[in-house]
Amino acid sequence: MIPNQNSAHPINILLVEDNPGEARLALETLKESRLKNNLYIMEDGEEALFFLYKKGKFSDAPTPDLILLDLNLPKKNGLEVLSIIKHDTRLKRIPVIILTISSAVEDIIKSYDFYANCYITKPIDLDKFTEVIKTIEDFWLSTVKLPPENNEKP
């Protein structure tokens, strides 16, 4: 495999997922990664935005290096969250991976039109779901160069 090209600091991943089972599986899978990472899990779209904008109890939250975003979320749906991120000059650089049950052509097209970085349909089978998380980890954490941490470099 390709050696890790990303920096030595742990990679911060934000997972926005309202299904606790899947969130747990993703957490377990990422824990076994060769690459140090911190996974932050938010259960709805509003909470995800509070996290990204460091509001309230998230005032110390890191800006994530990668976002895994479900589409069907309580309070604010995933497409709205995506659109807000990709219109925000400070957040738009963060890769957003759509990870959803939906395989509707309309959702796929809309997500890409809103500048999702990629769209993945969650397999229902749990082993396959774990495989998908591993592949995401492998591709995005070791093959891809993630955007540098800060916009304003001294």
Partner: protein, 148 residues
């Protein structure tokens, strides 16, 4: 994982014939049927995408692999034009370049590149990278080609 019966069309924008050749070999071994179209500068790439002469019959690619340092029109400009075009912006663009400068990485993501990959200099590693792009983008990801 995905049952694509229609071959996937990939546009590679690369001015180094050696790299283009290697990418072609790597993709030929893919389990998934794909057609690779290669253009060697940014102007040709835009003509291909906009179906201008001599590409009036060109198919719309499902995936674009784009180098940054290109003759005639720079890759950054090509990326910008793609992502500002209502008909093209949904096509995933993988930046595949020698550059690993933070400025290029940041700028590419800000211009909505779908991902940024630095080409390894080692040829075997380069083939591995192309294969991992293929594995990820052609089998795990759902491409926006439903509306083709």
């Amino acid at each position: 994982m995905k049952t694509e019966l229609i071959p996937i069309d990939i546009l590679l924008v690369e001015d180094n014939p050696g790299d283009a050749r290697l990418a072609k070999e790597a993709l030929k071994d893919s389990k998934l049927q794909n057609n690779l179209f290669i253009v060697d500068d940014g102007e040709e790439a835009m003509k291909f995408l906009l179906r201008e002469k001599p590409y009036t019959d060109a198919s719309r690619p499902d995936l674009i692999l784009l180098d940054l340092n290109l003759p005639k029109k720079d890759g950054r400009e090509v990326l910008k034009e793609i992502k500002e075009d209502e008909n093209l912006k949904r096509i995933p663009v993988v930046i595949l370049t020698m550059s690993k400068s933070e400025e290029d990485i940041l700028k590419s993501y800000n211009l909505h590149a779908n991902c940024f990959i630095t080409k390894p200099i080692d040829l075997d590693q380069f083939i591995k990278v192309v294969q991992s792009i293929e594995e990820f983008w052609l089998t795990i990801v759902k491409l926006p080609n439903g509306a083709k």
